[in-house]
């Protein structure tokens, strides 16, 4: 943006920035799993599993789905870096017999290993070998239990949240499935909302508080 600093003109600045983006395609930050510590590096199976699970949550419709945008890898990166408090030691009250084996020394949970195990157990074998419809049923049951009223702690809530983050902050999720407007330029306080209008991924207040 140094060019914008000299002889600067706002309209030119914005225009030039967006033209450039159009010409080059907006550079997406690559998801780098290669930098992870050995113990956080996923197995190939875990990567496939996470990609599939993400895609079951947000499938391809008339817009790309979570697998298309690499949301599975984002979840793996996010879990390794502790987003959504996933590297914090578990609260004692949440440690059940089913979760205890997946704890690290510091008391935090190995989310990915837990998910792999939970899905394989529900599938009575290799989750990934089942047809997509059966996988969806298994995942839906796990989701329903986790989101039921008064449900006990489930690691699934955080994983699902990160899938959503991975998808809706991707270029397709943020700007095709939703609308993205960096420079609205005006404020309209009361306009009709019609069913075909999509939400804004650039409504930062809504992202924070909604």
């Amino acid at each position: 943006m140094s060019a914008a600093g000299q002889g600067w003109n706002r309209r030119e600045f914005v225009g030039a920035a967006s033209l450039l983006a159009l010409a080059l395609g907006v550079p997406a930050a690559a998801i780098r799993l290669t930098d992870l510590d050995a113990q956080d590096a996923p197995t190939e199976r875990q990567r496939s599993l996470m990609t599939r699970v993400a895609d079951l949550v947000i499938p391809r419709t008339d817009t790309p789905g979570a697998a298309d945008v690499g949301a599975g890898d984002f979840v793996i990166l996010a879990l390794a870096h502790g987003l959504s408090e996933t590297r914090a030691p578990m609260a004692a009250a949440n440690v059940t017999a089913a979760l205890a084996p997946f704890r690290r020394r510091n008391g935090s949970l190995r989310y990915l290993a837990w998910l792999e195990n939970a899905l394989d157990r529900s599938a009575s074998g290799d989750f990934l070998r089942h047809p997509r419809e059966r996988q969806a049923e298994i995942l839906a049951a796990l989701d329903e239990a986790a989101f039921a009223k008064e449900a006990p702690f489930s690691p699934w809530n955080a994983i699902k949240g990160l899938i959503l983050t991975g998808y809706y902050t991707s270029e397709a999720g943020g700007s095709q499935e939703l609308r993205y407007e960096l420079v609205p330029g005006k404020w309209e306080w009361n306009i009709p909302l019609t069913p075909e209008m999509r939400a804004f991924s650039s409504d930062w207040t809504a992202v924070d508080f909604g």
């Binding site: 502790g82 902050t169 420079v183 609205p184 404020w187 924070d208 909604g210």
Partner: protein
């Protein structure tokens, strides 16, 4: 810069909201000014690296690397304004450590850089009233302010005219009107809530947040009107919100009388007991570790409340063993930060077919309505007010919803339901026990760290309990369904309105500064940031710091010209 005798008339320590403004006022009055800033240089437009980035251009999609944050930003990460987009505008806590008194919490949110927190602030600008300047006298807690609203009003005018504050005139005694640019509109839900609250409680007013965002361009300042992005803390190349970079620094530079030094941590002022004057400002060049100093006829401390007190405490000398300008013994005491919490969140049905366009960079405010003509607070004698707003949810609501698959996905691309939040901010009582001291622990540059001892008390708890009750009553009356509300204050510091420690007062025995922000003990020393505050009010404080800064600059220049200092 060791033998600069005669080169500078004034040194300003800090380049944030108040330091930048002091530099502008003093240079425009003809003084040669050296502004010393602890942090790095950030150039307007050129250095706002994340300003135009989309989430998909960020490695952690805007959420940031929690592992890094826990290591280096353990305090800053607790602030919701701290994200991957703004992390470069907040301090690295590992490099800038401070101590908390045993058993007490204080989350100190800081920006050490050219521009300070003028880059990251929420831009809310409210005048104080005589309910606020008279508060200490009225209930007998703290020392009486040696000024009243009428004296400050012209300085508020001057500041607002330069800063550019948009807002609506409401004619309220407790929140005086200012020189406003056109207000941003309330959204459809807020308008309805305003009407419904007023119908039931005629003395309660919901109005648009008064904010330092330009609703009209200011070509003469090189500033465009706001583009309604609400990403201000990344830095704004339009210059549409008030910051040191967008407004006060260019004005000061235009005079040709400003010198700026960055990466320079001031740690000490030296003082001559014979003349009762500050004689030099000492700093450490944080890149080389070199110790440097400069002289000037007057010194303005604007390092951001606690930092200014820190410098004074660390300037102990034989003549002033408890810290510079501390013959009273009150330096460091009576620190404050508004007690704040989310008083209510409600779902607001009935507006399903309405929405908005654009990101309005301000919310709404409901000014104080308790303890005005009569002391009607239950267990508290001062005020609280609310800030918040109505909004529609977006994809993040999916994190709380069951479901997977295409149907779930389709639900999440719809504009979500309306909700409204009210966050309460209550007056913080000035208490001697809430105080700053020097720790024995040193920072990485060898300077004793600041230790903060702070705790909210019974009054703040009572005020927030009342605020929760009233917020629920108002939103329910306005047709909302309240789904949550809290009355326990967040940790001290979370309002990011930390202030006090070098309070202004009539009596040199019980205060640090006189009514012109001048140290009782050192005639050429002025402190015009939040350290000066004798009470906290419940409004955001920066506009008041600015008005007091402008007034003090004017006073200091007259004193200089008349040869009195």
């Amino acid at each position: 810069m060791t033998d600069n005798e005669g080169q500078f008339d004034a040194i300003v320590v800090g380049s944030g909201i108040t330091g930048g403004f002091a530099a502008k006022e003093l240079t425009e009055a003809g003084l040669k000014v050296l502004m010393i800033e602890r942090g790095r240089k950030i150039e307007h437009q050129i250095d706002y690296e994340t300003e135009t980035k989309a989430p998909w251009e960020m490695e952690f999609r805007g959420e940031g690397d929690t592992a890094l944050y826990e290591r280096d930003y353990a305090v800053q990460m607790l602030n919701r304004h701290f994200t991957e987009f703004t992390q470069n505008h907040f301090v690295n806590d590992a490099e800038q450590p401070y101590q908390k008194a045993p058993g007490k919490d204080f989350d100190w949110f800081r920006s050490y850089q050219l521009g300070g927190r003028s880059l990251t602030w929420g831009r809310q600008c409210y005048r104080w009233s005589d309910y606020d300047f008279g508060a200490n006298k009225r209930d007998g807690v703290g020392t009486d302010w040696p000024i009243r609203y009428a004296e400050l009003a012209p300085w508020y005018d001057r500041v607002e005219e330069f800063v550019g504050v948009s807002g609506a005139r409401e004619g309220l005694a407790q929140l005086p009107d200012g020189h406003f640019l056109p207000p941003m509109e309330l959204n459809v839900v807020e308008q309805a809530v305003r009407e419904r609250i007023r119908a039931k409680y005629p003395e309660r007013v919901l109005t648009i947040g008064r904010t330092a965002n330009l609703t009209e361009a200011r070509p003469e300042q090189g500033r465009a009107h706001c583009q309604y992005r609400s990403i201000c803390a990344r830095g704004c190349s339009y210059g549409a919100y008030f910051s040191t970079q967008s407004a006060s620094l260019p004005a000061a530079q235009k005079t040709g009388r400003l010198t700026v030094v960055t990466d320079a941590q001031v740690h000490r002022l030296s003082y001559d007991p014979a003349t009762r004057r500050v004689t030099a400002v000492h700093w450490i060049d944080t890149r080389t570790g070199e110790h440097k100093r400069a002289h000037s006829r007057i010194v303005f401390l604007n390092a951001g409340s606690f930092n200014s007190v820190h410098v004074l405490l660390n300037s102990r000398s034989e003549a002033m063993p408890n810290g510079l300008a501390n013959s009273s013994g009150v330096l460091g005491t009576h620190i404050m930060d508004h007690a704040s919490t989310l008083a209510a969140k409600a779902i607001m049905p009935g507006f399903e077919d309405r929405t908005t366009f654009g990101n309005r960079p301000t919310g709404v405010v409901i000014p104080r309505f308790k303890n005005m003509e009569t002391l009607d607070g239950d267990g508290f004698t001062r005020g609280y007010s609310y800030q918040g707003g109505a909004m529609q949810s977006t994809w993040t609501q999916g994190k709380r919803m069951g479901g997977i698959g295409a149907e779930y996905k389709d639900k999440l691309h719809q504009v979500g339901p309306w909700s409204m939040v009210l966050v309460a901010f209550a007056d913080s009582m000035p208490r001697a026990a809430n105080r700053l001291t020097l720790s024995k622990k040193l920072d990485p540059r060898g300077v004793p760290q600041l230790e903060i001892a702070f705790e909210h008390g019974a009054e703040e708890h009572a005020a927030l309990a009342d605020a929760k009750k009233e917020a629920a009553a108002m939103l329910t009356h306005a047709g909302g369904k309240v789904i949550m509300g809290f009355d326990r204050p967040n940790h001290g510091g979370t309002a990011i309105h930390e202030m006090g420690g070098a309070r202004m007062g009539w009596d040199p025995q019980t205060s640090v500064l006189n009514r012109w922000n001048q140290a009782h003990d050192a005639a050429n020393l002025f402190v015009t940031d939040g350290a000066q505050m004798s009470s906290s009010a419940c409004q955001n404080p920066s506009l008041t710091y600015l008005a007091l800064t402008a007034r003090a600059c004017d006073a200091a220049v007259s004193m200089l010209k008349e040869g009195r200092i």
